[in-house]
Amino acid sequence: MSGHGRRWWALGVLVTLLVAGVLSRFASTAPDGLERVAADQGISGQAVERSGLLSYDGLGGVVGVALVLAVGLGLTAVLRRRSARSPRGR
């Protein structure tokens, strides 16, 4: 990436961190569309609830962002290396 490309990319990461770390505080806690329909149809009880290692608060959001970014970049790098080796890859 050129200098302009890097700046642009860093801006994207910053916006994403702000969305996950700050904007997430203002997210609605009302049931989502599927949860609402399930409740109205009387099937909410069928759902098996689990508890996660992380929760969607500011900290969990930032950790999640870092994880998705790491996996995404890693996967991209692997796919690019494979396509560089195989002539039909591009």
Binding site: A27, G33, Q46, S83
Partner: protein
């Protein structure tokens, strides 16, 4: 839209897991063509943005919320094969670490959001782009229309799956009507957010937007008939 464990029976969950696994395998091949020098840095960023944006539930009606799915958004920005992989990574992290969406429902959620959401969103985007005027400003609008359509399509797919393998007897018509109506409202939010985000990227770096390539290629050709070396990031 994240389906929990317990809604669909085992055969249906296994079937959607097979669909999801096949889609991911095909996407691993297809994405290699999409991930050129320009798109590669954007792909990880798009997955990350979709994860962050999915945290932000917005109110849609009395006591109901929705959030961006991001399938159409990712498809327009980095291409549909790569978009399926982006959504798969997001859903894996959500399912494994945040307990958002069931584990036995992982294949269902990848099918609904990473396959149906991505590909119906992308197909409607391409249709809209073919109808709209051939200029760069049409790209965000077409992306918004694709995003809007993708949400009720994914919701109806869930309704269909539940009729086949749901763990409770429900009236098909009532479930379809309920899923379609709520998710059409959520789709409006999806469409607006998709158009805004694609519009922002188009404004700053139109060369990075996968869905804008044909229009840019046509306008560059019209401006300069001689083949150029192309603009590189």
């Amino acid at each position: 839209m994240h389906v929990p464990d317990g809604f669909l029976d085992l055969p249906t969950s296994l079937a959607t897991a097979a669909v999801a696994a096949s889609a991911v395998a095909l996407s691993l091949r297809g994405a290699r063509r999409e991930l050129d020098d320009r798109a590669a840095p954007l792909a990880g960023l798009v997955a990350t943005f979709v994860f962050a944006a999915q945290m932000i539930n917005f109110p849609v009606a009395a006591g109901t919320s929705g959030h961006l799915i991001g399938g159409a958004l990712a498809a327009v920005l980095v291409g549909p094969w790569t978009a399926t992989l982006c959504l798969t990574v997001v859903l894996l992290v959500q399912g494994l670490l945040f307990a958002d969406g069931g584990l036995s429902a992982l294949g269902t959620n990848i099918t609904l959001m990473g396959v149906v959401g991505v590909w119906t969103g992308y197909a409607v985007f391409r249709l809209a782009l073919a109808v709209l005027p051939r200029r760069i400003g049409s790209v965000p609008l077409a992306a918004g229309i694709g995003g809007f359509a993708s949400v009720p399509m994914a919701a109806l797919t869930f309704a269909g799956l539940f009729m086949v393998g749901g763990t409770a007897p429900l009236d098909a018509g009532s479930l379809v009507a309920a899923m379609a109506s709520v998710h059409t409202l959520i789709g409006v939010g999806e469409g607006v957010l998709t158009a805004l985000v694609v519009g922002s990227v188009v404004a700053v770096r139109p060369d990075l937007v996968h869905g804008a390539r044909r229009i840019r290629a046509a306008s560059i050709q019209a401006a300069a008939p001689a083949p150029s070396s192309g603009h590189r990031a």
